[in-house]
């Protein structure tokens, strides 16, 4: 969560807000912020840290682990219309890649800006070529996009 917090400004500049959720109470969130997070990143976690004790929200989102009584590392990108655009769920021992999260938000925003006329190929970053799906592109992606662009 500290890694996400350290990129908060960049994420906010994209017009995005972050909400974190765990089964801990809001009192424990405060203790975590005061005793650890604030020492890991300047100012600690600036976004709302939500409390979902019995996993009511986690169950609705399909990330609640009933046996362990905790929520898995689920990440949802929700667009301004409230539609889920991306989901990633990891088991607890592996952390997220915040750079990839930011890349995906930028890609979804680009697609939205073009009203879906353009699609972003694998590994797309702003400034890299996009694809314009249509009859002329069928079977011709190899001519306009090289695999090397993905990396």
């Amino acid at each position: 969560m500290a890694a996400v917090a350290s990129k908060y400004k960049e994420i906010q500049e994209l017009g995005a807000e972050i909400l974190s959720v765990s089964v801990d109470s809001h009192f424990v969130h405060k203790m975590w912020q005061d005793n650890e997070l604030s020492k890991m990143v300047d100012g600690g976690v600036p976004f709302p840290m939500l409390s979902d004790g019995p996993g009511n929200v986690g169950k609705v989102y399909g990330v609640y682990d009933e046996n362990a009584g905790v929520e898995m590392r689920g990440r949802f990108i929700i667009d301004p219309d409230g539609v889920v655009q991306a989901i990633e769920t990891l088991t607890p021992p592996v952390g997220r890649n915040v750079a990839e999260l930011i890349r995906q938000v930028k890609a979804f925003q680009h697609v939205r800006k073009t009203k879906g006329a353009e699609a972003t190929p694998s590994g797309w970053q702003p400034g890299k070529p996009t694809l314009t799906p249509g009859p002329d592109l069928v079977g011709k992606v190899w001519e306009v996009w090289k695999v090397g662009e993905a990396f």
Binding site: V4, A16, L19, S51, N56, K59, Y61, R75
Partner: protein
Amino acid sequence: MKDLKVGCGKPTGAKVGEKAKKESSEGQTQMEKEVTMSVVRVGQKAPDFEAPAYQDGKFGQVKLSDYLGKWVILCFYPGDFTFV
């Protein structure tokens, strides 16, 4: 973030439209409606929910639909003070 009355109880989150708990006649709390595991899919509406939150030294109440018009990154994680 809406204000949250701070008491000794432990308020919790719930899907909007479903009350988390209600008092039974015996005074015990019980789930009004069993929340079942569902599947949220890409391309579909994110279920609205409301939950207590801590932010910037304050306790409050956060509702997902209050963020309509903005991009929202919703991050679940296993727990405070865990290691990753």
